[in-house]
């Protein structure tokens, strides 16, 4: 490996969260952003080709080293690490609405989902998946919510734009009883 790739590996190993490209570039002022990108490719290939148990992943607004999926069960069984809990359907629906409509207030989410979402919002907030991003100018100045980088990380998204655009979502309901089309 090149010295730069080794430097990146050390930084990625030490970091608790995904590191943005700019931060990685700041590790070595001599190197150009292009060189850093090339070194990241080199490191990823190193992990992939030489049969490492970890891989280099771009998500949550940065780069991160993750264990490969095949070891998840054994790691969890031995209680070395704990997987984040699965979200309920109600929580996922709320999260999806916040992701697309942010900043959004509680009343608007309830309008779309047709149910009260107070407790769901609270638990999403506790899990660090959404945060309060401001207050609306409307009556009572309700709180507005948005998604966090933790959200991107937990759903393996590089950035919000990676979600399909609203107009790309297939309307599967037209015609008789189609199954839901999963956007790719």
């Amino acid at each position: 490996m090149t010295p730069l790739a080794k430097l990146l590996e050390a930084a990625l190993f030490a970091a608790p969260r995904p590191i943005p490209l700019e931060t990685l570039a700041a590790l070595d002022p001599e190197s150009s952003p292009a060189a850093v990108s090339a070194a990241l490719d080199e490191l990823r290939e190193h992990y992939d080709v030489d049969g490492h148990a970890v891989e280099l992943v771009e998500q949550g607004g940065g780069w991160q080293i993750l264990t490969r999926a095949e070891f998840a069960e054994a790691i969890e069984r031995a209680q070395v690490a704990v997987r984040p809990q699965k979200l309920s359907a109600a929580a996922l629906e709320t999260l999806a609405i916040v992701a697309y409509r942010q900043p959004i207030g509680r009343a608007e989410i309830e309008e779309i989902r047709g149910v009260a979402v107070g407790s769901v919002l609270k638990s999403l907030h506790e899990r660090g998946l959404i945060d309060i991003v401001g207050r609306s100018e409307g009556i009572g100045r309700p709180l507005l919510y948005g998604t966090t980088s933790q959200f991107l990380e937990q759903f393996a998204l590089r950035h919000l734009e990676e979600l399909p655009r609203a107009d790309e979502l297939a309307i599967a309901l037209r015609g008789a009883g189609n199954a839901t089309v999963v956007p790719e």
Binding site: A15, P16, R17, E55, V57, Q64, L66, T67, R68, A69, A72, I75, Q79, A81, V82, R83, P84, K86, L87, S88, A89, A90, L92, E93, L95, A96, A99, Y100, E110, I112, R113, G114, V115, A116, G118, S119, V120, K122, S123, E126, E153, Q154, F155, A156, L157, L163, P164, A166, L169, I171, A172, L173, R174, G175, A176, G177, T180, V181, V182, P183
Partner: protein
């Protein structure tokens, strides 16, 4: 639509969410009916769907769920509006179902995003990042089952009970706080010394009302500019000193 729930926003205990059967809400139920009945969403046979909806919410035992009842009422209103006679070729006629269709489509779009998130999230759950935890802040326990013997448990309970003061269970004497008295004490202490600590002001065996009185007295005096309260770091002893300005005056 729903009563504002201030408590749930403030309380910091994990909330307890009850999923109504397998449906996440009235729109979910409605979509599932529309799929089961294989009808065109742009031309919903509202009478039939409303009837089905009512049947389902009674069989699901959801009668008390306000959100479902609200939707039921909405369906019945649309049904009634559909029954009103209208002149042929009248341009001003607006389909009473339009708003419902718009909401259903919006909801359906969101459900597609849910599928996507569910898939991505599930994949990601199989990969672990390096677990970086600052040593001192490691208070998140693993989900390990608690393993200890009965003896150890009883010993632990005993330890807890021994440090707790005997709770007074029967004497409930309402005792007003004595803020003025506490302010006098604080002034007397500060007259002798430039600075003192919280522990100098509160006796070791102080009752809760005494502790509260001192606390309120300190806050009041700080507001009046008689003293300053400082703490060098979290959990350090609180230091109280005479305010230099009021001293000069």
């Amino acid at each position: 639509m729903t009563a504002p729930n201030f408590r749930s926003v403030e309380a910091n205990t994990p909330s307890f969410v009850i999923e109504l059967s397998q449906f996440t809400g009235p729109l979910d139920l409605l979509l599932s009916l529309i799929r089961d009945e294989q009808v065109d969403i742009y031309d919903i046979p509202i009478a039939r769907i409303a009837e089905q909806f009512l049947a389902r919410i009674s069989s699901l035992g959801l009668d008390e769920a306000a959100d479902y009842l609200e939707m039921a009422a909405r369906l019945l209103r649309i049904k009634a509006q559909m029954l009103l006679p209208r002149a042929d070729g009248e341009d001003a006629w607006e389909d009473p179902r339009a708003e419902l269709v718009r909401r259903l489509l919006e909801y359906q779009q969101m459900r597609e995003v849910v599928d996507l998130l569910e898939r991505r999230g599930e994949e990601r759950r199989h990969q672990f990042p390096r677990r970086f935890v600052p040593v001192a802040a490691d208070i998140t326990p693993l989900n390990a089952p608690l393993s200890l013997s009965l003896g150890e448990l009883l010993a632990a309970v005993d330890r807890v009970l021994r440090v707790t003061k005997e709770p007074t269970l029967h004497e409930v004497v309402p005792r007003a706080l004595d803020v003025a008295g506490a302010m006098g004490t604080v002034r007397a202490v500060l007259a002798m010394r430039r600075a003192c600590r919280w522990s100098d002001l509160v006796a070791r065996d102080a009752e809760p009302w005494q502790i509260l009185s001192v606390l309120l007295a300190l806050l009041e005096m700080a507001k009046l500019g008689e003293l300053r309260i400082a703490q060098s770091r979290a959990f350090a002893s609180v230091e109280i000193r005479r305010d230099a300005i009021s001293e000069a005056a």
